[in-house]
Each structure stands twice: as structure tokens, then as C-alpha cells.
Amino acid sequence: MELVVFVIAAAMILVGAVGVIVRTHPVHCALSLILTLFGIAVLFIEENAQFLAAVQVIVYAGAIVVLFLFVIMLLGVDGVEDLRVEPFKIQRPLAAIVSVAIVGLVIAAAVSARNAFVAAPVISPQVAGAADAGAHDANIRALARDLFSNHVFTFELTSALLVIAVVGTVLLSRKIKAAP
């Protein structure tokens, strides 16, 4: 069963990814991206990271891609890009080599280390208290416990980061009025 889910999700991911890089119209690319993100959300659920799957859909597919679409509409950069032309002759072969190399090396590393770790139960044993274990929201409990005890400082910084990012972007993109 898991195999079927995995295969379908993987297909969604790969088709979407290829679509992003191949389609000429930016809106089509954005839609392919949504497909990929959904595939990844499915895999998250498969791996018992339900909270992350939800957040992925809400934040990534729901906010970030929408933001992309807004900008596309705002700026009108929906001009079709000609993919046959490449000003730098070396770029495409080099890109191909680099990508293949990265993929190959990582796959080689992953394959050769496949027996390095003992398989662990799907549900994290890092669950404080038996009441949490086995509960229907065990994942979110475990995640919250970990987040607010081990990484609370990072959590606070991240909130600051978000504020700074928003303020910065507002400043960055305002139109400067001409002096009277």
C-alpha cells in the first residue's frame, strides 16, 4: 500500500518538477510547482509528519505560490521565454554536468550508506509521557515538545526574522516620490 502511495506521489513530484523547468509560460510553471508541493505533502503524511504536511500546503502552496502568481500578474512578466536560445554556449552543458554530478554523488552516498543505521519505529520514541504516545495527535505533541524545549530561542529569532523580512520588503519596494 505504501508503495503505491509512494509511486504516485513520486510521479507527481517529478512531473511537476520537470514541468517547472520546461514550461515557457510562468503561470504554467507556478501550477507545476503546486503539483510538486502537493506530492511532497503526500509523502510527508506517509512519513508520519502530518503537521508538516498541513503547513506545507497552507504556507507553501497556499501562500508562497499565490505570492508568485500575484507578482506575475502585477508585473506582467508573463511574456513567453524562448527556451531555444542560450546566450552563453557553455551554460547548458555545464548545468547538465553539474546537476548530474550532484544527483549522482548524493545517490551514491545514500545507496552505500543504506545499512548504516538501525531502523527505528515510525513514531518517535521521544515522546514525554505515555499519554502522548498512541494519541491521535502524537506527532504534533512531539513536535511541539521538541520545538519549545530545545529550540525555543531559534523560534523567537525566527519570529523576529519574519517581522524584519516584511518590514524590509515594504521599504525596499516602495516608490520614491519625486521631490516637489
Binding site: V20, Y60, L83, F117, L143
Partner: protein, 105 residues
Amino acid sequence: MIASIEPTTTWYLILAALLFGIGSLGVMVRRNPLVLFMCVELMLNAVNLSFVAFAVKMGDIGGQTTVFFVLVVAAAEVVVGLGIIVSILRRRPGATTDDLDELRG
């Protein structure tokens, strides 16, 4: 019979690697700045996938926490990045990444 084959962590890692490779290829090839950004998002998602796969394998919830943070930071990054793109393209409509070469030596 097919149902007896379970996807192992290695499969997830391989999938993540492929996704990452496709994303990096896109970054190097596409000229539209927004599409380029989307390919960066692909790469980030590949990393997220591999983190969660390791979280499952190691039994450590820390992997999922990391993904949480990656998501937040990716959002912030998209905000800022699109702000920059908006600023540039407002002044130069129709520009591609190839046209933004003031740093040329």
C-alpha cells in the same frame, strides 16, 4: 506481492536527490527571474523531504523541527526576494536575469 515491497529511506533520499538536481538545472538554465525563484523552491523542498526521511530513520523528531524552520525561513526569503524582483522589474520591465549584469568585470 508488490505490496510487500516497502519504500525505504533510501528511496526517499534518491527522490530528494532527483528533485534537487532538477531544481539546480532549472536555476542554471531559466532566464525568467520568477521561474528561477521557483526552481530554488524546488531545491528547498527536496531538502525538506530528505530531512523528514532522516527523521523517520533516526527516530529523532529534530528532523521535523528543522523542516519547520526551513519552511518559515523559505517564506521570509520568498517575500524579500520577490520584493527585490518587483523593485527591479518595475524600473526595467521585461528584463531577464541576463540583463541584470552591472557586476560585470
